[in-house]
Structure formats: structure tokens, C-alpha cells
Symmetry: C2
């Protein structure tokens, strides 16, 4: 039995998220159907590194599967793309070590959240215009306290229960993109809605006299009610998943 690793990109707009749900169009569902068709094996299960929500995109989602197939990985990639709808693409396929699991083996995830500085109809599916002026210096100050290992309970979706609210943020910062500003954040794991809540809170903190202090107070509260609004799904994208064995 081989273990195969796929790197997958998708436009999340027309999906009800990653995870299979009866009667809904999901990325996992569409991908499993394509894999099962190519490998002629209805028992194939895919494991995704990140269970992205409805409307959330990916450029570097990773999925793993086990199969006894002998098809070469490049042939598998091409056969899958022939069967897949045009809003999902398999960017790469590779053999992985026995025991590799896209979610359990991952050591870090890199997400981006794209903000538009003005309304742009061509970018409305992949970015969000918050209807406030974007202040790069204040936004950068607001996210600086996030670096390091902290309890992120304040940014967890209300009602969600995750095993461990402590996350290790290894990199976070804003960068210019042609439509405005983009948040890049890499952490070992994320809580449900965490990036979207961080963005909403950063926008609120950036408008305060002391953005870093405002963010630090929200973190210290460990209470969802202290944080800002949840930014909408369409700005969020899973860019890359890191594994210990990968070259850096």
C-alpha cells in the first residue's frame, strides 16, 4: 500500500467548505469522487491538512490517501485534473513515507487574509473591503503581540471547543498586495475562525490610540467577547502546509 500526498488549490466560493457533508458540494467530496474514479476504488478516503470553511480558499491545501494503485504520481495528477471541476486543481502529487497523514503530520500552516483598500468587483470573491481606511503601520503594530506561544481563546469562535487553545505563531505580519494589504500568519495550529477573528480585532485595534496594547488586552481576556468582529470567509486562503521532513 502506497501513501500519496496531493497539493490542492481551490476557489472556495462555490463550496460548502472542505469537509464531506451529505447533500452538499464540498472540496473533499469532489476530490474523493475524482480519486475513486481514477483509481476505481470506492473505499479511498482523503485526509486534508486544514478543514477550511465555506467560502475559504486554498493555494496549498495538502491531502493524503492510501492506495495499492501502481499509477505514477504525475499520471494521477493529470487524470484527477481532467475529472475535476475548474474550481479545484491538483497542483502536485508525490509519494509520501508510510504513515504520512496530511493533518496529523503537519507542523505548521500558513494562511493569508486579503483586505481591499477600495471596493473591487473583480476581487470580491478572494478579498474583503472592510469600509475603513487601511493604516499599514497601525495594523502592523496591532498584530505584533501575536508572535510566540499564547492562549488564543479570545479568537476562538463562540461555542467552538478545540482541544488546545495555546497556539505557537511563528510568523505574522502585513504585506502589500495590488488590491490593498494582506495578513500572513503561520502557526502550528489554528482555532476555529481564529484568523478571521484576528483580522476583525486587528482592524478595531488599529483604530485605537495604542494598537499593540489594545490587541494585548484582547489576548489577555481569553474571552471571545473581548475580540472584534469575524471577518468574512472570502478573504481567507490556506497558502501552505509545512511538514517536518520538507526542505525549508
Amino acid at each position: 500500500v502506497r501513501t500519496i500526498r496531493l497539493v490542492v488549490s481551490y476557489d472556495g466560493t462555490d463550496f460548502h467548505g472542505w469537509q464531506v457533508q451529505p447533500g452538499q458540494r464540498t472540496v473533499q467530496g469532489v476530490l474523493e469522487e475524482a480519486v475513486q474514479g481514477v483509481l476505481n476504488d470506492e473505499t479511498i478516503r482523503l485526509h486534508g491538512a486544514g478543514r477550511t470553511d465555506a467560502g475559504v480558499h486554498a493555494r496549498g491545501q495538502v491531502a493524503s490517501l492510501e492506495s495499492a494503485t501502481r499509477i505514477p504520481v504525475e499520471g494521477l495528477r493529470r487524470a484527477l485534473n481532467t475529472r475535476l471541476p475548474d474550481d479545484v486543481r491538483v497542483r502536485a502529487a508525490a509519494d509520501a513515507p508510510t504513515g504520512f497523514h496530511a493533518r496529523h503530520s503537519a507542523c505548521a500552516r500558513h494562511y493569508t487574509y486579503r483586505l481591499l483598500s477600495e471596493e473591487d468587483v473583480l476581487m470580491r470573491r478572494i478579498a474583503w473591503h472592510p469600509r475603513v481606511a487601511l493604516d499599514p503601520a497601525a495594523l502592523e503594530a496591532a498584530v505584533r503581540p501575536l508572535t510566540g506561544e499564547h492562549d488564543f481563546s479570545s479568537f476562538r469562535a463562540s461555542g467552538a471547543v478545540d482541544t488546545n487553545p495555546r497556539c505557537r505563531v511563528s510568523a505574522v505580519g502585513w504585506a502589500a498586495w495590488p488590491g490593498g494589504l494582506q495578513l500572513d500568519v503561520t502557526a502550528d495550529h489554528f482555532l476555529y475562525h481564529m484568523v478571521r477573528n484576528l483580522v476583525g480585532t486587528a482592524l478595531a485595534a488599529a483604530a485605537a490610540p495604542d494598537p499593540a496594547g489594545a490587541m494585548a488586552r484582547v489576548m489577555a481576556a481569553r474571552d471571545r467577547r473581548a475580540a472584534g468582529l469575524t471577518a468574512p470567509a472570502q478573504g481567507l486562503c490556506l497558502e501552505r502546509v509545512h511538514y517536518p521532513e520538507d526542505p525549508s
Copy 2:
């Protein structure tokens, strides 16, 4: 009677082009319906500066209309956006001199065509990946002969009859955008499918030993059969329309 000028942006993906067609969803049709609803006048006709094709986008389409309404232009803009679907936005509304006509008064149009250097599912609606490596220097050389006034018959869609095949190209060149390269071309007017045929021909000419010479030979032929393939609609965007009275 006032003359009003609108600047309109749209994602052309889900439209059968600009121009009203019975039983089809068109930008003009959707806009006229919104204008008629806001002004409570079913006889309003919109004139667009460029009759964009199915799948072609706009960031700066201009439309004009005449009405006896007294509504302030900013109120009109907001009321239209409330009624319009989210793939069309009115970016600006302004009073225009009597006799202003979005198409007849225009002195130049600026189009972009976006090429992707690799497949990108998030950009597939607004750019095209030609499945060849993009060579910026060769592509730039290929479009250099287009500057100035020329007979562009070679780039006119087969079967199309335009009044005047001579166009004055005032600016043309490639620029980097995050996904790859973008052609910017400004001319007094364009023939049907002209930009898309220029892009297909530029890609073919860029692969020749002498890209500028290859393009010049296609131009001199004045024959559609001498030119390259028609690049697909989704990469094309009407960015701006120029009028003699505008500040430069």
C-alpha cells in the same frame, strides 16, 4: 433634461456581454433595469463606451443616460448599487455636458489583458494561462510595432465588418502583475476581438527568432489568417475610457 455619466465595473464571467440581448443576462440590461427602477422611468436608455463581449470585464466602463430626474448624482450612485447584483458596481456618477455620449464622445480606450505564468485557480476568472513560458523581453519586442496609426485588419475577428480598420495606438506595453504579465494597450478605437487577437499573435511572435519582425509581417498582411489564435475572453478588462474634456 440632464445628461448623466456613470463609471461602471463588472465581473463579466456570468454575463453575456455588455449589450442587451433578449433572454440573456447582460450588463446593459441589468444596469438599465436598475436605472429605470431608481428613476421610475421605463424609457431610459444607457449608452456604453465599449460593447464588451461575454466574459470580458470592466473596471472603468462608461455609460451615459438622459433623464429629467432631480436626484443628486451621489444618491443615484448609491441607490443603483443597492439594486444591482454584486458582480456590477457603479463606481462614480456625475453630471455631464449636454450632448455627452459615452461612446461617441470617447477619444480613447485603455484595455488590459492578464496572462498567468502558472495555473492559478483563484485568478482563473480574470486571467489566462497560455501554457507557455512568458518571456517578458520577447513579448515587449513583439508589441513594439503596434504603436502609432496602422491598419489592424489582420486582428479583426473573421467575418466582422468595422467601419474603419485604421486605429491609432497611443500606448502599448507589458507590465508585471502578481500572477504574471499584463498587456496595457490604449487606442482611439478597437476592432472586434482586436486585443484578444493581438495577445494570441504576440505570444506566437515572442517564440519567433525576431518577435518585432514577426509582428510587423502579420500587420502588413492585413489578413486575419496571418495572425495568431484569439486569446480567451476572461483575461480582458476595459480599464478606462478617455474623453477630451477630462483632466489627463
